[in-house]
């Protein structure tokens, strides 16, 4: 029967058939929950009761007033700032440094610097807890040898957030570095030669030629780092601090979990989830707009 259709229709059907499993799973496990969450966000529900109470915008209004959520938002921004430093600026510098070392040494550095990426964040959290440990832990011992007062990194409100930044930074650093190295690899040697003929070299060459050429990659990792800074920190918070002490390390997506699975406030949790989604939606539109600009720049 299929052979009676025109070639064009047959091709369309084949294409649709090939992409249908992916579409099916995204529809059921990404877009359905998104809509479901939006509906739940207008209700009051404790996850077990058979009835849900429609409450209109109440959950959203509560978000504006709740101080714990304000703290979570503030922490999310802090996490983002720290992580932009550790997994964007530092990798940019390191990739630049990589061009000054011998080929073979660079390949070695590349392998070692990327290796934390393959360690589970859940396990890395436990591993770092031991590294941080004031008695017998690696950092704890170094701390002591330096003559500093013992510090319980994860149970002090002043340092818990920084400790989590260290864990996530350690894990994600190599990934961005590899993307940047790939971006550098895409720059033609002829361009560099031409600039040198024109008199640019050393630092100036980096600042005015290589960094601008690398900007598509940098924009991409900037956006993906913002999402990592939000998503990744969830795991060490969940494993180690539970958001504490006194909300010092919680972040916006951990509040989604805490409201739903600790306090069984599914409606309020859903409202936070929708707010997070909207923030990322704006970021995504921004990223698409940027990459469109970059494409037209390339074709010029």
């Amino acid at each position: 029967m299929i052979s009676k259709l025109s070639l064009k229709t047959r091709n369309s059907l084949k294409g649709l058939l090939l992409v249908s499993p992916a579409l099916f799973f995204f529809a059921v496990f990404v877009y359905r929950p998104l809509i479901h969450t939006a509906i739940l966000s207008f209700h009051d529900w404790n996850m077990v009761s058979p009835t849900r109470l429609f409450v209109g915008w109440d959950n959203y209004l509560e978000m504006l007033e709740n101080p714990a959520l304000g703290k979570a938002l503030q922490n999310s921004a802090l996490y983002a700032v720290w992580l932009i430093g550790i997994i964007i600026l530092l990798p940019i510098l390191t990739t630049a440094g990589m061009t000054y070392v011998h080929n073979r040494v660079r390949k070695m550095f590349r392998v070692t610097l990327f290796s934390p990426t393959v360690v589970s964040l859940g396990i890395a959290s436990v591993m770092w807890l031991w590294v941080f440990n004031p008695i017998g832990g690696l950092l704890g011992t170094i701390w002591e040898e330096l003559g500093l007062a013992p510090l319980n990194w994860l149970s002090s409100p002043k340092t818990a957030l920084v400790a989590i930044v260290i864990i996530v930074g350690w894990k994600a650093f190599g990934y961005n570095m590899l993307l940047l190295l790939a971006g550098l690899g895409g720059i033609s040697g002829e361009v560099i030669d031409a600039c040198k003929v024109d008199g640019a070299d050393g630092f100036g060459l980096w600042l005015y030629v290589i960094l601008p050429l690398l900007s598509p990659t940098i924009f991409f990792i900037l956006i993906s780092t913002l999402s990592m800074a939000t998503e990744y920190v969830f795991t060490p918070i969940h494993v180690l601090t539970g958001g504490g002490p006194v909300n010092a390390s919680t972040n916006i997506v951990f509040e989604i979990w805490r409201q739903a699975f600790r306090w069984f406030r599914v409606g309020y949790s859903s409202a936070i989830a929708i707010a997070v989604f909207l923030i990322f939606f704006v970021l995504m539109i921004f990223q698409m707009w940027l990459s469109e600009k970059v494409v037209s720049y390339d074709e010029r």
């Binding site: 992409v19 000054y100 031991w130 011992t141 690899g185 999402s227």
Partner: protein
Amino acid sequence: MNDRREVGEWGIKSSPLTRVVWYIILFLLSVIAVVPVIWMLSTSFKPSQEIFAAGIRFIPRRATFSHFIRLWESFPIPRILYNTFIVATATTLAQTTISVLAGYGFARFRFPLREPLFYLCAATMFIPIQVIMVSNYLLMSAWDILNTFFAVVAPQMANAFGIFLMRQHLRTFPEELIEAARIDGANELRVLIQVVLPSLKSVIAAMAILFFVNGWNQYVWPSLVLTEPEQMTLPIWLRQFMHAEGGSEWGMLMAASSLGVIPALILYVLAHRQIMSTFASTGLKG
């Protein structure tokens, strides 16, 4: 623009001092990357009294397997490793298959709404898992399949990164070869399997290895659906074990952590060349 020299061969002017400083910085960063893992391995082989000994020592004075043995005797470790392996393998198979099919469809066929549908797939990369996890948890709970491997694997069977990667690579495959195979009477699936995929072997292998490592490592979603110790994967079980024993048994904790880290590291060491070149060849534009 085909002069693709290695990044170290641009010959950018630099003083010997600059280069020495870079060697030192990169060396220190590498130390930070590797040392926590070595510290974990080292602790797991130290006898209990040596773990809290003063000073820093990476090579145990008297290495011992006692933590591993106690771990093995007290907990269903083979079962936990088996769970982790099955979850990782099933995730890898599903994600790889669906990525290849969808990548081929998006790269090689014209159909109505192709671009919007592709954007809908790619956009899932920007939706944090925490946004949709509560609803997915409620669904699994309603279906009464919490604590099953299916519940862990199902929501992540389609992977936007994989589809994106496959589409990129399949777009540049020569059309003549596909046409030739079609004229020879091969159906679409045979064209894909026998003509197109063999030339992408190394990319698919690298992608599958990344999928496996991610599946082995994953934490957020399994931490919701796996609540029975019998079904737990290693990272999930590790957290539960840590909270249960209260932070004194560092030898056993590090032994268990090592069991989770070593397989992923071995895979990475074996396949790092392919992984690196896949990253390098993908690029981010387009």
